[in-house]
Symmetry: C2
Subunit: 148 residues, 2 copies
């Protein structure tokens, strides 16, 4: 079992939350996911294992995990919530055309963190960096179109 899963269930346990089978299934999926899932997507996937699971349970668990800092909310380009399950500092490259989100690790973020520490009395818990634009695949497609 991955350490992300262990960290999530450990955090739930430490905070006095129960490790129900539904919650474990949600954590298992989140820990394995690299697709920045929406609540609906989590629901679909968990339902494969627990057909009777409720959307309310999914929302509940996502909220608890977010409050514990185990996942991070990111803005869907327009369509509601998405969750970041990768806690390593990184840049989200969000394609405005196909909607895909790619994680780009970068040392440059430590410089941003330093800038925040130095320039303000702000106590930083988490950093989110989103780059909006066209991914290489969509950029190629756009260029092809303009050649018509």
């Amino acid at each position: 079992m991955s350490s992300r899963y262990d960290a999530m269930t450990e955090a739930l346990h430490q905070a006095g939350h129960r490790l129900t089978p539904q919650r474990c299934a949600i954590c298992r999926y989140l820990a394995a996911s690299r697709e920045h899932p929406s609540p609906e997507r989590v629901y679909e996937r968990v339902r494969e294992e627990f057909p009777a699971v409720s959307l309310a349970t999914v929302y509940n668990t996502l909220t608890v995990l977010r409050d514990l800092g185990e996942i991070i909310e990111i803005p869907g380009t327009t369509e509601g919530l998405r969750y970041e399950t990768n806690l390593e500092p990184h840049i989200n490259l969000i394609c405005l055309h196909c909607g895909r989100i790619r994680d780009l690790p970068s040392d440059s973020l430590s410089i941003v963190q330093n800038a925040i520490h130095n320039d303000s009395g702000f106590d930083l818990y988490g950093l989110r960096v989103d780059g909006f634009g066209l991914c290489s695949a969509c950029r190629t497609a756009e260029e092809d179109k303009s050649h018509d």
Copy 2:
């Protein structure tokens, strides 16, 4: 009139959109605002001048301005859309306690932009950097509480 306002109305005009009084009022408010308004907030403010203005008109105009790149959508901490009217690269410091968003200009962002240009075939249109944590006021309040 501010150059932000001019830029917005100019962009609308260039794109073939009409400069209705409602739209101008929306732009006027956005250009002056430093409060990262929600659609509802824009609606309230514009209604002071146009009591009969419709929420649909507000959404319509915000969408058009966003598509033109004159404003940027940012994630409300939880409560729906918020708009960034400050197009200068900066860090949003979002307080998890009081919800306030403070803009912090920073040279460090050009390093992030370079990192994106160098490490991927991504065509970057816009960058959003959100720091989550406690603002100095709320941090002080939290510390006071823990002294009880």
